[in-house]
Amino acid sequence: MKNIVSKKVNQMQPSGIRAFFDLVLGMKDVISLGVGEPDFVTPWAIREAGIYSLEEGFTSYTSNKGLYKLRLGISRYLKNKCGLDYSPDDEILITVGVSEGVDLILRSIINPQDKVLVPVPSYVSYGPVTELAGGIPIYIDTTKEGFKLTPKNLSKHLHHKPKAIVLNYPCNPTGVSYTKKELSEINRILLKHNILAITDEVYGDLTYDFEHTHFASLNGAKENTVYLDGFSKSYAMTGWRVGFACGPKEIISAMTKIHQYTIMCVSITSQMAAYEAIEAGRKSIEEMKREYKRRREFVIDGLNSLGLSCSKPQGAFYAYPSLKKIGMNSMEFAEKLLKKQKVAVVPGTAFGGENGKDYIRISYASSFDNLKEALNRMKTFLGD
């Protein structure tokens, strides 16, 4: 079976930290701060709705776009929340998490050699999926501006004539988010240069210092934005795999075309549970959010006092401290910390950017007891 794998897939950069991940997975009794999902179990009412739907015999396909009542629920929710008006008929598509949404939108818009801007460090899929779709990712390093995409930095990359930008905020791995004013400045540039905004706002509900602004709610942005979101992080529903894409009719229809041939529809059980989440789940979100916020203060304080300097992230559940004062690169740090103290973190090299080797991602989606113990172990580790 020589040369069976396609050139394109062969050329894809395998994740440089796969070996490290395997090392973590092979070890026992590790305190992991390397987890990219909430440590809460899905609230019971939502799980119960899934179970009940099975008892009632909801085991069939749904329409390609997803259950109408779920699309309607999302539409109403967005309208009440911030006046964003998406029609449940043709402007919302239920996807298998935001991951599928990213794949669908990039495949829907990219012609060979089209350029897509990806600010880094960022979640790992945007670049590779762009390449799979035949496009070219143009990475914008944001390290020097506190991991924030500034209008100036964005403008420097306009000569590539990009077709779209993937903006993830609050950001995995940095936790950085943007105020309405900052987003408006970015929006003005995108509109002026006809660059489509693809926004991954899956951590939007977990914004701590100011209200999360949906990009599409900015002046003139709605027709130029594909807004991706999901239930994974805010409702602790990662394993259910439900997300959604909202955008202009033509684009959603293009995405639906691919979706109907590749996925058909999202699991009906998951859609029924997600419906319960959007109808009744707000209370649990607020409680989780307060808990995350308290952990954030605790962890940032702890990291800084260990010399792992770290500015305060505004959202998600990640801290992205610098290792510059420690004098180790991120892979070395992560491996040694794992072997000596059994604490797992993710090396920054996983998330791109020139300086990934100087940073690690710490997830505070872990109980206080775990966080306390992990910080103690890190203290011992750094004292050695």
């Binding site: 991940f21 990219g36 999902e37």
Partner: protein, 161 residues
């Protein structure tokens, strides 16, 4: 809700220093706030939730839920008679209830006999107690928001993006 209460309700062992870090306030401020809650009687006590079923060496205890119907007293309503009942150390909880009876009393004792004796000799013979119905508890599943079961292991994979 006061966030300090939310934190302490989850884990009463959280120190003022930790609370101060979590809420980004000064340690003396946290200490002062806790003291105030204690003084006002909002925080009454710090206790540990114990699953007594697992205490193999201990003598088992039985619990009974007792429905008590009462003749209210003029000017005093239910409060006076309730006090006479809840002051017995055998009574672990006592609630005034709407519906077909008045007080729900939870009683703990060594065995069925001791509880029955308490009901017959102490409770039922109180002047204003009209009738009692005793239900013995068979199994505790959840108490005060705590599920009485071994902690479930973490089901997440140890590392992910």
């Amino acid at each position: 809700m006061n966030e300090i209460i939310e934190i302490l309700e989850k884990d009463a062992r959280t120190t003022p220093e930790e609370i101060a870090k979590m809420l980004k306030i000064k340690v003396p401020v946290a200490k002062e706030a806790i003291k105030k809650l204690e003084k006002e009687g909002v925080i009454l006590k710090y206790k540990t939730v114990i699953n007594k079923d697992l205490l193999k060496s201990e003598e088992p205890t039985v619990r009974a839920l007792i429905e008590v119907s009462i003749v209210p007293q003029k000017d005093l309503g239910f409060d006076h008679i309730a006090e006479r009942i809840y002051s017995f150390p055998e009574v672990s909880s006592c609630y005034l209830i709407s519906g077909t009876y008045d007080l729900l009393v939870i009683v703990e004792g060594k065995n069925i006999q001791t509880v029955s004796k308490f009901v017959a000799e102490k409770l039922s013979c109180l002047e204003n107690v009209r009738r009692t119905t005793t239900h013995f508890m068979l199994k505790k599943y959840k108490e005060d928001g705590v599920i009485l079961k071994h902690k479930e292991e973490n089901k997440r994979i140890a590392i992910s993006y």
